[in-house]
C-alpha cells in the first residue's frame, strides 16, 4: 500500500505541466490530496488587475483531483478526467499562492466522483470550487 502511494506521488511530481506551473504536492493519501501553486506573473489572465487566469486554476484543480483518485485505495492504476466543472467564486488576490484540496466523495468500480476547492491566503473564502468524474482502474 505504501508502495502504491509512493508511486502515485512520484507520478504526480513528474507531470511536466504541473512542474511548469510550480505545483507542490503538500499531501496525498486515502483519496484526498492538497497541492499548492505559487503566484507567478506568467499566470496572469487580466493584465489590468493582475489576477491569475482561470485556466491556471483549472490546471491546479485537475491535477489535485487526479492525485486524489490515484491515491484512493480502490483505484489500482492511473486515472483520466471524464469531466470537470469549475465555479469561479471570486478573483484570487494577486501575489498569493493558490492551494487546492480535493477529495473523492464516491468511488465505484469504474468512476470516481471528486470535489475540490481552491483558496488563496484567505482560507475562509474559496476562490473556486470544482466537481468532476474520473476513470478508475479496479480489480478485473
Amino acid at each position: 500500500m505504501a508502495d502504491k502511494e509512493k508511486i502515485a506521488r512520484q507520478f504526480i511530481e513528474a507531470i511536466p505541466h504541473s512542474r511548469a506551473l510550480g505545483m507542490r504536492l503538500a499531501d496525498m493519501a486515502d483519496g484526498k490530496a492538497t497541492i499548492d501553486m505559487p503566484f507567478d506573473e506568467k499566470l496572469v489572465g487580466d493584465p489590468e488587475t493582475g489576477v491569475i487566469h482561470g485556466g491556471a486554476v483549472s490546471a491546479l484543480m485537475d491535477t489535485c483531483c487526479g492525485a486524489a483518485v490515484m491515491c484512493h485505495p480502490d483505484n489500482l492504476g492511473s486515472t483520466a478526467t471524464i469531466d470537470l466543472r469549475i465555479d469561479y467564486m471570486r478573483a484570487a488576490t494577486p501575489g498569493q499562492r493558490i492551494r487546492a484540496h480535493a477529495e473523492c466523495y464516491h468511488v465505484t468500480r469504474s468512476v470516481a466522483f471528486v470535489r475540490a476547492t481552491a483558496t488563496d491566503e484567505d482560507a475562509e473564502n474559496p476562490v473556486a470550487a470544482a466537481t468532476g468524474a474520473f476513470t478508475v482502474e479496479g480489480a478485473k
Binding site: 513528474a14 507531470i15 511536466p16 505541466h17 504541473s18 512542474r19 511548469a20 506573473e41 506568467k42 499566470l43 496572469v44 489572465g45 487580466d46 493584465p47 489590468e48 491569475i52 487566469h53 482561470g54 485556466g55 491556471a56 483549472s58 490546471a59 491546479l60 484543480m61 485537475d62 491535477t63 487526479g66 492511473s78 483520466a80 478526467t81 471524464i82 469531466d83 470537470l84 466543472r85 469549475i86 465555479d87 469561479y88 478573483a91
Partner: protein, 171 residues
Amino acid sequence: MRAPRRPPEPVQVVKQRRDATLRALVDGVPYIQFLGIEFERRGDELTGILPFDQKLIGNPLLPAIHGGVTAAFLEVTSIITLSWTYLWKDVESGAIDAEGLAKGGMPRLPKTIDISTDYLRSGLPRDAYARARIVRSGRRYASVHVEAWQDNRDRLFAQATGHFLMPERRE
C-alpha cells in the same frame, strides 16, 4: 436623389484594423503567452491554436496533454471569441482605436462564472485547435460552447460550456 454612397474602405485598411485589435486582445495576456496560444482569423471567424510543447504534457507515459491545459485552452478561446464579437461593431465602424489598444487601452475582458469541460479522448502530443460559438450573449451574461480537435475536425478531443460575466461598456 440618393445621397452619394461612401466608397468601401481599401481592404488593407480593414484588415489592419481587425488584426491590430485581435493582437491587442491576445498579446496583452501573460497566461495566453505562457501556453503559446495563437489565433487565426478568417473574416470574423476565430480559431484558437495550441501548438504542442513538452511543458503541456500531463501524462508522460502516454504521453497526453494535461487536462488543465485543455480546459485553459477552451476557456481562453471562449473569452477571446466573446471579446472579439463584442468589439466587432466598433472595429468595423472604425470607432475603435487599434493603436490605442496596443498601447494599453485594452478593453475589459469577460469574467468566467463557470466552465464545464468534457474530455472525449486524450489530447495527443500535437497541435490542437478550438472554435467557440456564442449560444447567447445578453448585456450582462453570456453562454458559450467551445469545441477542440486535433487531426480531424470531426473527432473532438474536448468540448466545454461556459458562462461569463460581460464587462460594462466604457463610454
